[in-house]
């Protein structure tokens, strides 16, 4: 069976907007993703090195903001949902398969290195910028937060600025 076509982007955007609106109406907060990585990381360090986290500044600030078990966090549950939802979508559209995707002009090795470095930069940047494309840019636009829109402009502006230098990876 062939993969199904993707949804019309305007329709998908409209649905995504309604999901975000419902999230704000019900919970008073927006969507997110990178925050879950932070929670899982913090939980891992806390269980491996319990004495260490009590003293390091970052973990003290974290537990001040999020008391209790770092895994009992709204975004962790939301991201578990994202995994389930994306899996269901892949299932109904015949897109479930293990695959390392890379441009025909590039190699698997380069793609692996690119994904690792890209993820590293995004993970770091999202901590510094207090949110990623979901938490800062999209949710920030919905509530018209100045900081969210500045982060959004910087993400997309930065990507356009650097795109030329990495064009060989994609085209």
């Amino acid at each position: 069976m062939n993969e199904k076509k993707f949804m019309n982007p305007y329709l998908a955007g409209f649905f995504l907007g309604l999901i975000l609106l419902a999230t704000i109406y019900i919970t008073g907060r927006g969507l997110g993703a990178s925050g879950a990585v932070k929670s899982v990381y913090t939980a891992a360090v806390e269980s491996i090195l319990p004495g260490y986290t009590a003293n390091a500044l970052y973990y003290q600030e974290y537990s001040k903001e999020h008391p209790g078990n770092p895994l009992k966090n709204w975004l962790v549950f939301e991201v578990i949902g994202v995994v389930i939802g994306a899996f269901i979508s892949g299932l109904v559209s015949n897109r479930l398969k293990f695959k390392l995707e890379h441009s025909p002009k590039s190699t698997a090795k380069i793609r692996i290195a690119g994904a690792l470095i890209g993820g590293f930069l995004f993970g770091f940047g999202a901590q510094l910028g207090r949110g990623c494309t979901s938490g800062a840019a999209l949710s920030g636009m919905a509530v018209l937060s100045t900081g969210g829109l500045i982060t959004m402009a910087a993400i997309f502006g930065g990507a356009y600025l650097f795109a030329y230098f990495f064009r060989k990876l994609w085209i």
């Binding site: 993707f6 949804m7 019309n8 982007p9 305007y10 955007g13 995504l16 907007g17 999901i19 975000l20 609106l21 999230t23 109406y25 019900i26 008073g28 927006g30 997110g32 990178s34 390091a56 500044l57 549950f77 939301e78 949902g81 994202v82 995994v83 939802g85 994306a86 899996f87 979508s89 892949g90 897109r95 995707e101 994904a115 690792l116 470095i117 890209g118 993820g119 590293f120 930069l121 995004f122 993970g123 910028g129 949110g131 990623c132 494309t133 938490g135 636009m141 919905a142 509530v143 018209l144 937060s145 100045t146 969210g148 500045i150 910087a154 930065g158 990507a159 650097f162 990876l169 994609w170």
Partner: protein, 398 residues
């Protein structure tokens, strides 16, 4: 009134809500094609603007929804998480994320979604993002200064730009519609032909019209709050006939009787409120009447809601506003707190009572002038240990 958390939906149930919201979020991201890095970076090389279309449509849909819900009094925006603004870390973090985007081909949300359907590059991206978080966490003392500098608080962009919310929303919709049009032509130039799905056909003229009309409606929406505030502040209003009066003696009696059916709303400044306020009274501003706290208390049935200020006139403004907002059982304290202080709290028997009624009244006031100040100081002590109990802005973000 939203947000429904924590009153209608408890903090535990909120986690289950998060799971279902995540399922919907992940499903739509995958259906939109965000599970492939080729489609995501297309935006930066001009061959596929799906990301821009989905992202901008979602953003303006949610934005218009938030403004509309706020206008109809269904959502208290003062409780919603507004991403705080820290100028330099937002810019630096954003640029680093942009670099990560063109190198890695994903962002955190889309990488999780792509990993879920088996994309190995996405799994590696997720692993990389753990390392990025690790660098930030372990090197935090180095980044702390940048992270916390130039803090502007929970500001909203139209405030920063000094324009009205409606104007900004309208302009943003125009920018989005313009971008939708322009990118179709960029795609044509890069790919050699129109994407058959996005040929400028009639349906897109229709969509554009809908978006522009929605944007124009923004001008009609958020004026309600300002209009009502202007109206009561100008003093040119009607509706006082729905406000009842309560005498200082009746209020004093109800306070001493510990009447559970009265709620006192004090519209003086915080400073005056802190120096002397009646037991169990709540300090409000006119703006507070639009918020969830007011909705929660003023909607309660079988309560007498007594509005007080120094004089009747100032409390009257608030009372009229509350009536206009649809609340009932609003009472004004006759003569305001000034007269309540004179007649009750600092009452001195002039000793010239003639009729029995006057004698009774003076006897009651003498007793009240002892009991009520006591109740005030007891309540104040209790409050001090209990702390502030108004609802706080929800903590969100990544």
């Amino acid at each position: 009134m939203g947000p429904l958390v924590p009153e209608v939906i408890g903090n535990e149930l909120n986690f289950i809500v998060a799971l279902f919201i995540g399922i919907a979020f992940g499903f739509i991201l995958e259906q939109a094609g965000f599970s492939t890095s080729k489609k995501l970076v297309g935006l930066f090389y001009g061959y596929d603007f799906t990301v821009l279309r989905v992202f901008f449509t979602a953003g303006i849909t949610a934005m218009i929804g938030v403004i509309a819900l706020g206008h109809w009094g269904l959502l208290d925006i003062s409780l919603v998480y507004i991403n705080p603004t820290f100028l330099w870390s937002a810019l630096a973090g954003g640029f680093i994320m942009g670099l990560g985007f063109v190198i890695g081909g994903f962002c955190p949300g889309t990488s999780v979604c792509a990993a879920a359907i088996g994309k190995i590059d996405a799994m590696i991206f997720v692993a990389g993002s753990f390392l990025g978080v690790m660098l930030f966490a372990e090197g935090y003392p180095l980044f702390e200064k940048l992270y916390l500098s130039e803090s502007w608080g929970n500001v909203r962009v139209f405030e920063s730009l000094g324009m009205s919310q409606s104007l900004f929303a309208f302009l943003l919709v125009l920018v989005a519609v313009g971008a939708f049009w322009a990118t179709t032509f960029i795609e044509k130039k890069v790919n050699g032909s129109f994407n058959p799905e996005f040929k400028p056909v009639r349906i897109y003229y229709g969509l554009t019209a809908v978006a522009v009309i929605a944007a124009l409606l923004m001008f009609a929406l958020p004026d309600r709050k300002q209009k009502l505030l202007d109206m009561v502040n100008s003093g040119e209003y009607s509706g006082t006939e729905n406000v009842k009066m309560m005498t200082p003696d009746e209020l004093a009696f109800r306070i001493m009787d510990d009447d559970k059916n009265i709620q006192i709303f004090d519209f003086r400044s915080k400073k005056d409120f802190d120096s002397l306020s009646l037991p169990k009274s709540r300090n409000y501003t006119l703006e507070n009447l639009f918020e969830k706290d007011a909705d929660k208390f003023l909607s309660l049935k079988n309560k007498k809601n007594i509005f007080i200020a120094d004089d009747e006139q100032n409390a009257g403004k608030a009372a009229v506003l509350a009536v206009k907002l649809g609340f009932t059982d609003i009472y004004l304290l006759q003569g305001g707190l000034d007269r309540f202080k004179k007649d009750i709290i600092y009452f001195k028997n002039p000793g010239n009572a003639v009729t029995q009624r006057e004698k009774d009244e003076y006897r009651f006031r003498t007793k009240a002038s002892v009991v009520i100040p006591e109740m005030i100081s007891v309540y104040k002590e209790k409050q001090k240990s209990a702390g502030e109990n108004k609802p706080k802005r929800i903590v969100g973000g990544c």
